[in-house]
Amino acid sequence: MAVGIILGFLLQNKVKIIKFVDPSINVAIYALLFLLGVSVGINETVINNLATLGVQALLLTFGGVMGSVVFAYFVHKIFFKTNE
């Protein structure tokens, strides 16, 4: 990834090459999530526990979202509101 960042930085003006990057990232992500899906599909433990895993995922999301918005509330109040 570091190599990629440096290369990307050097290639900033080579628009033709850069144009290939975004669609290629999409293809790579599609491929990987497809493969992740396959490995989930053949994994019986995961399939049998999909509902439990989903509930846990939502609990973690709830924690992450609430935690960050509460902190954002105070940071906004203390550092940002005065400028409005």
Binding site: G4, L7, I29
Partner: protein
């Protein structure tokens, strides 16, 4: 949103094919996903490096804008730490899942590689629902938690998928902050996830 649907579609298709054993054995025995992951990492790197607008935003940002992604990181970890008491997942893994900040594709791929499919699925669902809840709850979050709240909730997605809704409700002057926070978090996701799981 269209992109998210395509991604979920590929994931579900993969599950079905795996479930019904439709794939030739060689596919399962050879781990193609490692190579795909290397290519993806390289491409993400090129994408970040070549994004002129992103570098521009980073360069011109006022110092206190750094507080925003920092707040998201600390707040997310704080909330996830509390929730990890209520789930069947260890603190380290919970933090790694939280460190996806809504960047579900990349984070779930890494977590699958390092910690296995079960946690990868949790990461995928958890981070997709972070994006979806930001899309749905922005007006509500704004009213109760101020104008930075939807940016915080959006995490890494506040630079693209959730940016329109954030700008619409928080106002144009928050667009730069939103993009900045999203870019910083997006860049940090792979590093944080790996760091948390490996150290």
């Amino acid at each position: 949103m269209k992109n998210s649907l395509i991604i979920v579609g590929f994931f579900v298709l993969g599950i079905l094919i795996g479930l019904y054993n439709l794939l030739p054995k060689i596919f399962i025995e050879t781990d193609f996903s490692v190579y795909a992951l290397y290519i993806l990492m390289f491409l993400v790197g090129v994408g970040i490096g070549s994004d002129k607008k992103a570098w521009e935003v980073l360069k011109n940002a006022k110092l206190k804008i750094i507080l925003v992604p920092l707040t998201v990181i600390i707040g997310t970890f704080f909330g996830v730490t509390i929730m990890s008491l209520f789930v069947d997942i260890g603190l380290r893994e919970s933090l790694a899942i939280g460190a996806g900040f809504g960047y579900y594709s990349l984070s779930s791929i890494f977590i699958t590689k390092i910690s296995g499919e079960a946690l990868g699925v949790v990461a995928l669902i958890s981070n997709i629902s972070r994006e979806i809840s930001t899309l749905l709850l922005t007006p509500l979050l704004l009213r109760y938690f101020g104008k930075l709240a939807p940016i915080a909730s959006g995490g890494a997605t506040s630079m693209d998928t959730t940016l329109p809704i954030i700008t619409k409700f928080a106002g144009k002057e928050y667009a730069i902050i939103s993009v900045f926070s999203g870019i910083v978090l997006t860049i940090l996701v792979p590093f944080l996830v790996i760091f948390i799981l490996k150290f």
